[in-house]
């Protein structure tokens, strides 16, 4: 019984990270038809910004985080959109996919070559330790990750639904033409989604790197799981990304514990295939109409 609860909590914590990364991914898709194959590397990078801030500029942890957040939002949000997405997206999704594949390789190689190939320890947001509740040990870090992720998601939902800007962003995603007619600055709304994505991946990075350790290959599987979470949850709904992420984290953990370990990766993939074939809009998504 203790094991089941521990697996559940661990799964939820990992799933929360998938959710954060998947939300950004979904937002980008909804508003600008961008499929960002470098999303995993986007999560890998801010941790290194923090480490550079601490080792090269001699800052302590929190100022480093602030600096890294600013740099990430500028580079992964603004510059990414202006320099890569805008020129390419006009010609369709595939060229942008290729460009982001190139970007992923580029980030990986830059980190490997200039920072180092081996894993680096990363200071945790909350000191690592265990908490025993009802005889079951939980890592405080996992609970903190879960808590902060929930807060971030709730904040995002409030922003999207409660504020005028948020509703404008949703309108731009649903129907850009009509949104423009109504006077919504669609371009700026799209820019905001990129900035939000950059902020979300930075948050995810700070939360998981203490557990994962900073390494240039961190992005590889994380990106893939985030895509799966986004699709399983529903590619056109932010709530879907959350559900998809949590579900994926939990199922992955239980499958690994009770089923074959050599085929551990196969379970999420099979779920992906089944969901796409039989319910492509995902668990929570709306069916996308096709124009003739």
């Amino acid at each position: 019984m203790a094991d089941v609860v521990q697996l559940l909590v661990a799964g939820l914590a990992t799933g929360a990270i998938y959710a954060l990364v998947a939300i950004g991914f979904t937002l980008l898709w909804q508003t600008s038809q961008t499929i960002n194959f470098a999303q995993g590397e986007f999560v890998m990078l801010p941790a290194f910004f923090v480490l550079i801030g601490m080792s090269h500029f001699g800052l302590s942890f929190w100022p480093s985080v602030a600096l890294a957040a600013v740099v990430s939002v500028v580079v992964l949000g603004l510059l990414f959109k202006r320099l890569m997405v805008d020129p390419v997206i006009r010609h369709g999704v595939l060229p942008l996919v290729i460009a982001t594949i190139g970007l992923a390789i580029f980030f990986k190689e830059v980190v490997r070559e200039f920072y180092g190939a081996d894993a680096q320890p990363f200071p945790p947001v909350v000191a690592a330790g265990d908490m025993t509740v009802l005889g079951i040990a939980f890592a405080v870090q996992s609970l903190v990750v879960l808590a902060i992720s929930i807060v971030a998601v709730v904040a995002l939902q409030l922003f999207l639904n409660g504020t005028r800007t948020g509703r404008c962003m949703q309108a731009s995603a649903q129907n850009p033409t009509v949104a423009r007619l109504l006077g919504i600055p669609v371009e700026r709304m799209i820019l905001y989604t990129f900035l939000i994505n950059a902020a979300l991946v930075t948050l995810a990075s700070i939360l998981i790197t203490p557990i994962y350790l900073a390494k240039f290959t961190n992005g590889e599987w994380l990106g893939l799981y985030a895509f799966i979470a986004a699709i399983v949850g529903g590619f056109n709904q932010v709530r879907g990304a959350i559900v998809g992420g949590l579900l994926l984290g939990v199922i992955d953990n239980f499958a690994a514990a009770y089923l074959s370990s050599q085929y551990r990766m196969a379970i999420p993939l099979l779920i992906l295939i089944v969901v796409i074939l039989f319910r492509p809009q995902g668990l929570l998504g709306r069916i996308e109409e096709r124009t003739v």
Partner: protein, 379 residues
Amino acid sequence: MGRLRFGLALSALMLLLGHASAEDVKLAYVGEISGSIAVSGGNFRDGIILAVEEINAAGGILKQKIALSQLDTQTNPGVARAQMQKAIDGDPYVVLGPIFSGNVKATMPLLQQAEIPHLIGGEAAELTNLGDRYLFRTSFGQQIGMPKISNYIRDELKAKTIALIWVNNDFGKGGRDNLIKQLAARNIKLVADVSTESGQVDFAADVVKLKAANADAVFVYSNEEECARIMREARKQGLKGPFVGDTTLLSQKTIELAGDAANGVRGHVGLTADAPIPAVAEFSTKFQKRFNYKPDHNGIKGYTAVYAIRYVTEKRLGKFDRKAFAQAMHGLTISPKDEPAILMETTWDDVGEIDRISFLAEVVNGQQKIIQVLPKLGK
């Protein structure tokens, strides 16, 4: 950490070093500089570079400077074969690397055909059984290390059952297969056989499986980062030890990443930068000064390999002759008396397998402590 600057300086240096003149002796390193085992390949390369720089500063081999070319296999056999072909086209004296056993196997036929001696970093057991007269190891094959640790499990730990967690790549699988054989021969049962992915970060489910197995001891065989993550997760979930491993579980990197979770683990260590040998400690300091990070055992492999080449060529041959080099290596013993930079006495047998002393160690208070020195198999 200055790595940014070092990266640029190093690359500039490499461009210079790659610039060979007719009077130079060419060595080629074909290894995994990028890709999934970039850490190992990078360490091996840097050990080589350190040795090459030292030797060149002392005049080179037989008065010829070493020109080192580096080729990246990207941990991909197709690429490895191409790069090895390129290296061979450059007519090297001796080739160093690769480490990834798939790359070794893909490139062996080329080197055999060209009759070029190669000092590999790979530890997979089968590599010395393939009849390659030009292949030499730079560290134990897994079939040497596993019997030693199995003896320890049987005699000191007196464990009857083992729960094994291993990484599913050529390194982990080879170790697992060898270990299972050795344990079976000693009547020790394997009650859990948990495979994990290279680069895996979340081990909660795997530790749950290990707990359920309730074994007398837990054997952890994975790369340094994953060992660290496994140990942290194990401590968190209260998995009871004792924990044993081979080299990677007890390396300094693992200890650094695992923190307190690493205390108490024991294991066999073939080659370690923390060996209680002054020469090794000196090497470690030099390496760290040059490259700004601590070497792992792959660094030692690369370093000693180049010095072995110098020793054989200068002291045994007196000339550059590839075939004679290979012949001289079979059955050769180099001791630190003859060549201090060999760090530990090393013997190669007639299939290219290496024999050295090794160690049983335990991690105490964040440091690797040697509890026993295991003699060479030969003498």
